[in-house]
Symmetry: C2
């Protein structure tokens, strides 16, 4: 694996490590100041501060004891300073608003990263839940 | 609006125009040969041909009479030859596997585009349904 693939893959794994430590300051520091993030229900956060606050809220509640595992990462470089990293993940230990445990779920996370003077930073994320056995959204 | 923003925005609108004409050859031609696409249930298609075949299948069935509207487009350029275009959309006229009409749904589509000798091409797409009123996936 090349050094750049290793460096980008490491950021994706740090995403999960910060999540599992519920350290949303360290989590937000993986992002560029003007990064954007769309979560699995289409909430669109603009900027590192919004991304941090949104995750602080969920990690104080539904995700407080949750554990995120990155199960694979695929990295492409359309130009040398930009990486497209797509990963599959599994989430366990999250709860409903009433505190009831919820079953594990899986998804696909896209991160676009840029090479900066501080190393690779996430400039855009979009997350999508996997729903098995269907071609599109069941309703 | 700058010429490059106009050119990228135009590709996003062509995505919807090809969808509404159910012309999956023209749709696929918006993508680079090695483009990837993750749809709203986490299906991960690799390459323009897979993207075309997957959409041919759904446009012969559930999406045959569907209509996609792009309601807004936001474009950023992390480097001059790469664009991150995020849009909100609304889909109407799609049906369940048994042919029953389904309610309209909305979502957020991320397209990453690269400037090529043929103009801007989509190199990566990820799509996420909007679910109103929740912070994360209801289960």
């Amino acid at each position: 694996m090349s050094d750049t693939v290793t460096a980008v893959t490491r950021i994706v794994h740090q995403f999960a490590e910060c999540w599992n430590q519920h350290d949303m300051k360290a989590f937000a520091d993986l992002f560029a100041p003007d990064a954007e993030f769309v979560n699995v229900v289409g909430l669109w956060w603009k900027g590192r501060d919004e991304i941090r606050r949104a995750h602080e809220l969920t990690h104080a509640t539904m995700f407080r004891d949750s554990r995120l595992t990155i199960t694979d990462v695929s990295v492409r470089f359309p130009v040398p300073d930009i990486a497209i990293a797509r990963s599959r993940w599994r989430l366990e230990g999250h709860v409903a608003p009433d505190g009831a445990p919820l079953p594990a779920r899986t998804g696909v996370l896209l991160n676009v990263l840029a090479s900066t003077s501080r190393g690779w930073a996430i400039i855009d994320s979009q997350n999508t839940d996997i729903i098995d056995g269907v071609l599109s959204r069941p309703q």
